[in-house]
């Protein structure tokens, strides 16, 4: 997940400077992707033929830059006027009717593993109807199963949950979310069956999955495995989902404390995951309001940071900055697993 370590080529540094010509608003939204795409073009150009490729790349880029910089400034100017005369944009109205959500998200391979098998997704439909009916969706999954299986499973899980959840027309959000995870399970199970009909356990892929929907003033959460949803309210961190793990059951039964569970040799053992013939999904609902935070994460985070430590960070910083700091913390403590965090602040 880290950007390429190679020294930034000269062309790339120049383009990064030139991008500053775009209006601030535009840059905030698109700078990252524009730089990424420019780098892709740059690599392609260099691969073809260095001198000629670069010449072509720059002639296109400069032409594009002069044209689109003036277009974007003109658009920004018009938008300002429109706002001045009360023609608010549609998007802003949607935001106020549903409250705005600010999201930070990040996944990191950690310090020990050679692959990142986590996947995540946050999705807010552009279509205002869909947004007001189905809300915003956040999904985190932690893949299991060697080679690329784990990554494939977690990737499939997050995309299948989104696909199924937004395709569902039913009125009951909690049920729709549960069924979306069941659908993801079915998809992974079918992949497993197609790959190894004999169902040899070593070759099967699986994944945890936790999903959260914010709709109106309600948070709907559903999970399988030990990836979690938290709500942070006035500095208090509260776990909403219940892990399907051996240690979590023992904590509930009063046989282990939280700290003991975090350090337990069997802390990674879960008894439910996606990819099997049948799966049981738990669902939770919770009222949320402006100023509160929702946090989704894989065990890479919660095994290394206590609830209080997580709360301290997310209370102090913006979601974007929080996820970065949380992952840095986890890595400083060994980064023994992949770590994925999504933080969404409501009405910030």
């Amino acid at each position: 997940m880290t950007p390429a370590k190679e020294a930034a080529p000269f062309s790339f540094r120049v383009y990064r400077l030139l991008v500053q010509c775009y209006p601030t608003e535009f840059r905030k939204e698109w700078e990252r992707e524009m730089l990424q795409t420019f780098r892709d073009c740059y690599r392609e150009a260099v691969r073809q033929q260095v001198s000629q490729g670069l010449l072509r790349l720059w002639s296109l880029t400069l032409y594009d830059l002069t044209l689109s910089v003036s277009v974007e400034h003109w658009r920004a100017f018009l938008a300002r006027w429109r706002r001045l005369f009360g023609f608010e944009e549609r998007k802003i109205q949607v935001m106020t009717s549903l409250f705005s959500i600010c999201v930070g998200e990040r996944s990191d391979i950690g310090r020990v593993r050679s692959e990142n098998e986590d996947s995540f997704l946050s999705y807010m439909p552009q279509d205002s109807d869909l947004l007001s009916k189905k809300g915003a969706l956040f999904v985190v999954a932690d893949g299991l199963g060697g080679h690329t299986g784990g990554e494939q499973a977690s990737q499939l899980a997050v995309s299948a949950v989104r696909e199924a959840y937004y395709a569902d027309d039913g009125r009951d959000t909690a049920t729709a979310l549960k069924q979306a995870i069941e659908y993801a399970n079915e998809r992974i199970y079918q992949e497993n069956k197609a790959k190894s009909p004999a169902a040899s356990k070593e070759k099967m892929m699986g994944t945890t999955c936790v999903a959260a929907v914010v709709l109106g003033d309600t948070l709907y959460a559903a999970n399988v495995g030990d990836s979690r949803v938290y709500v942070v309210r006035n500095g208090q961190v509260r776990q909403i989902t219940k892990d399907h793990s051996l240690v979590a059951d023992q904590v509930t039964a009063g046989l282990l404390t939280d700290e003991q569970a975090r350090a337990h040799p069997e802390r990674n053992k879960i008894y439910r995951c996606l990819g099997l013939e049948k799966v049981e999904v738990d669902a939770f609902t919770e009222k949320v309001q402006e100023g509160e935070l929702i946090l989704l994460c894989t065990d890479g985070l919660w095994q290394l940071l206590s609830d209080e430590e997580i709360g301290d960070i997310v209370e102090q910083y913006s979601p974007e900055e929080s996820v970065q700091r949380l992952i840095e913390q986890a890595n400083e403590r060994g980064g023994v697993d992949n770590t994925t965090v999504v933080v969404a602040s409501i009405g910030a």
Binding site: Y22, L60, T61, E89
Partner: protein, 126 residues
């Protein structure tokens, strides 16, 4: 405003950039660079878009409800950096169809006037 009630023709004609981005997304979701490659490949390199034009168009197409973001993930064919993917909305699909129908009429008109089969230089030659 419900998309079912929106008239796709209200957005026509589309700019070349918008039309080509829509066409690039007709057969599946792509990230920004993927859209660029698809457009370049399908037009034999005659239409090339820079990042400014691409993302300026994407921004307005999202505001118009033609396309939507479909998640962020690495492209297995490239590196392991996460890329934002885009896909058509139902409305976007109707808009591209309406635009192509409109262009078809233009082509039909041109054929009737034998633009394609007639002499290349009308009256220019001695």
């Amino acid at each position: 405003m419900s998309d079912e009630k929106r008239d796709p023709r209200s957005l026509l004609p589309l700019t070349p950039a918008v039309l080509h981005i829509l066409l690039a997304l007709v057969d599946g979701e792509r990230h920004g660079y993927g859209i660029m490659q698809e457009v370049a490949a399908r037009t034999g390199g005659t239409i090339r878009m820079g990042p400014g034009t691409l993302y300026g168009s994407i921004k307005r197409m999202m505001a118009d409800g033609l396309i939507e973001e479909s998640g962020e993930r690495p492209d297995p064919a490239m590196d392991d950096e996460r890329r934002r993917y885009y896909r058509l909305t139902g409305f976007g699909r109707r808009v591209v169809r309406a635009e192509v129908e409109r262009l078809e009429q233009v082509v039909r008109l041109a054929r009737e006037k034998q633009v394609l089969s007639g002499p290349e230089m009308l009256g220019g030659q001695a």
